[in-house]
């Protein structure tokens, strides 16, 4: 019995997965995870095969430096060097959903929004919502100052949950308003469930808003069939069917990107601002031989026309924040809400 236990202990490790906890081994494992499981290798036109030898060589040079160095540097120094190298390798994906997690740092890619106008200045909000704004769960709301017939909701993270009762009180507070602004600028995402729940407030009927598919194999194009994504109108039993304007910018990312995409199909909804950040791939995570974790996009999501949302959603009205004393996006929303422009 003991003999068989010892024999089988060796079988727990899968013989096909060769995990080498060396600098080169970790770089290769990271490359392999992205190669087999990242869902946008093909779509982004990445030369991922070309990336491997470059970083293998760099890992080898760190390893060599460690072996040959006469300076007394702790293992911490080389761990950080390896971390920076692997973070640099992940940066080639240009994806905000890709992070490397160690005990001492988390890598992040920011180039996907750096070349775009910010379109958001939180300091300008006070003149529109004052300091007497209300907060219901994750929803900050008030009547717009000087335009009390327009309600304003700021939702800064889809990680903050809210319920039907929260939305009931918000809508009740806006009952005399003819329109509503939902501001999801700089909302980096969170729960897709919350995103679709919020969108459900503005849907009369259950609506097809897109599709998704997950990876099913190691090939870059090994995906499951497209499965429809619906916003279920019964998710929220309180409804707002008057005009609604969604404000977004490049940093409206991930679940927010999917919310903005869903709102394109809501009746009476207009999207105003800049192209959203994308992040149309649901992230999953996996572990490296040294125990670090890598997060990456694995489930590909599209809009209703089966077009990928990874590079963001274009607004109906593209507006850029130019002024320093007023919010051009809110101003544009107010103009769009003018009675003469409404149907």
């Amino acid at each position: 019995m003991i003999l068989s236990a010892l024999m089988m202990a060796s079988c727990v490790r899968d013989p096909e997965v060769v995990l080498k906890n060396t600098m080169r081994g970790n770089v290769e494992a990271l490359w392999q995870i992205i190669d087999e499981k990242y869902c946008f290798v093909e779509e982004k036109g990445l030369d991922w095969n070309g990336v491997l030898p470059i970083y293998q060589a760099k890992a080898d040079s760190i390893e060599k430096e460690r072996a040959e160095s006469t300076e007394k540097r702790g293992s911490d120094y080389y761990q950080r060097a390896l971390f920076d190298l692997m973070a640099q390798m992940l940066d080639t994906l240009q994806d905000g959903h890709v992070n490397l997690y160690s005990s001492f740092d988390v890598s992040r890619c920011s180039s996907w929004y750096e070349d775009y106008p910010s379109n958001f200045n939180s300091g300008l909000l006070t003149q529109y919502i004052g300091t007497d704004y209300k907060t219901a769960a994750g929803l900050t709301y008030n009547l717009l100052k000087g335009h009390e017939d327009i309600g304003y909701i700021r939702y800064s993270s889809f990680s903050d949950s809210f319920g039907t009762l929260n939305m009931y009180y918000v809508i009740k507070y806006f009952e005399k308003c003819r329109g509503m602004i939902i501001d999801v600028r700089n909302n980096g995402g969170g729960s897709l469930e919350n995103a679709y729940k919020l969108a459900s407030t503005f849907m009369k009927e259950t609506t097809l808003v897109g599709y998704w598919q997950h990876k099913t194999g190691k090939g870059h194009q090994d995906f499951s069939p497209l499965e429809p994504l619906y916003v279920d109108s019964t998710d929220m039993t309180v409804k707002w069917l008057r005009p609604v304007i969604v404000l977004c910018n490049r940093r409206s990312y991930s679940a927010t990107n999917m919310f903005v995409n869903a709102m394109r199909y809501a009746p009476n909804a207009t999207i105003v601002g800049g192209r959203t950040g994308g992040g149309g791939g649901m992230p999953l995570s996996y572990e490296l031989p040294n125990g670090w974790m890598v997060r990456f996009s694995s489930v590909r999501m599209t809009d209703r026309d089966k077009v990928s949302t990874e590079n963001g959603v274009m607004p109906d009205e593209e507006v850029t924040l130019e002024g320093k004393d007023k919010d051009d996006l809110i101003e544009r929303a107010i103009k769009l809400m003018a009675p003469s422009l409404q149907k």
Binding site: N21, H214, G217, P283
Partner: protein
């Protein structure tokens, strides 16, 4: 998650305690812990035991790394002969355990709990083996038969994104074989028991490659996650070696259990292995049907 574990452990303790209480009322006092401890026609023999041991685990749905750690639990095994044919016995098991395993670099951990339940019947062949030197008599029994087993293990990976839980779920028809050697030494009864089970056919849960927890639970997208199992894609071995002995007026079991499970396909690999020590109390009880 920890709360769930505590509730399940509490449930297991309650079930076992309840079973003991029920039997205590109906037990034949002279046979429960006394002379006819091994087999008594018409009576059910129960082993109520606690187990503690080590575990190795791999779940490619959660991580490519091998995790190891500990597990502890409680269980109840029982057997008795069929009323009309004492060459056949039926047997059952209900076992629950929980534990924690970590990866070698200690960056992450998996908390898990497992419930196993099964029922089977087996044919018994018995032989008196005379009186070996130093003993007052001995007997060997060999048995074999089918065993239906349900296994459910829930695993939570502490640090993960959109894929925090995984499950080992399977229902199999196993082949059970066993042998025991009973003897008396200095007026004390002993029994050495070896029992093994290997899986045959069944069904199992095999989560689709990179299917997220969100898809599985929120969207109930479980297409491709249920598969037929056979020895080619699922290997399960359970074996235990134990010694039963009398101590004063009670009967005890000391033993070791070993379980090995591996299943999957080309891209999906799941494995776990446990080695545990068990300490149990053996008692007989008469099963009666309550009439209303």
């Amino acid at each position: 998650m920890n709360r769930i574990l505590y509730i399940i452990l509490f449930f297991c303790v309650c079930v076992s305690a309840h079973a003991e209480e029920e039997c205590a009322e109906k037990v034949c006092k002279t046979e429960a812990c006394g002379e006819k401890v091994w087999t008594a026609n018409g009576q059910r023999t129960n082993v109520l035991y606690a187990l503690y041991g080590g575990q190795w685990m791999q779940d490619s749905y959660l991580s490519p790394l091998v995790y190891d750690g500990w597990q502890a639990g409680l269980g109840n095994e029982w057997w008795n002969t069929f009323r009309k044919n004492d060459l056949w016995r039926h047997t059952g098991i209900l076992q629950g355990y929980a534990g924690k395993v970590t990866q070698s670099s200690r960056h992450n951990e998996i908390t898990h709990f497992d419930i196993q339940a099964g029922w089977g019947a087996h044919r018994v062949w018995g032989f008196d083996t005379g009186r070996p030197k130093g003993t007052d008599g001995s007997r060997v029994e060999v048995y074999a038969g089918p065993f239906v087993e349900l296994d459910f293990m829930a695993k939570e990976l502490a640090r993960n994104v959109n894929k925090p839980y995984s499950f080992d779920m399977g229902a199999d028809v196993d082949l059970m074989v066993g042998a025991n050697y009973s003897f008396r030494y200095k007026k004390t009864a002993y029994r050495l028991v070896y029992e093994g089970r290997i899986n045959g056919l069944g069904v199992m849960w095999l989560p689709d490659y990179w299917q997220s927890y969100y898809e599985t639970t929120e969207k109930v997208n479980i297409g491709g996650s249920v598969a037929f199992s056979h020895p080619g894609n699922r290997q399960f071995v359970h074996q235990q070696l134990s010694m039963d002995f009398q101590f004063k007026r009670s009967t005890w079991r000391l033993g070791a259990k070993h379980e090995y499970l591996h299943y999957g396909d080309k891209d999906r690999h799941f494995a776990r292995q446990t080695v545990s020590l068990t300490v149990g109390c053996i008692f007989n009880c008469r099963v009666t049907r309550t009439k209303f």
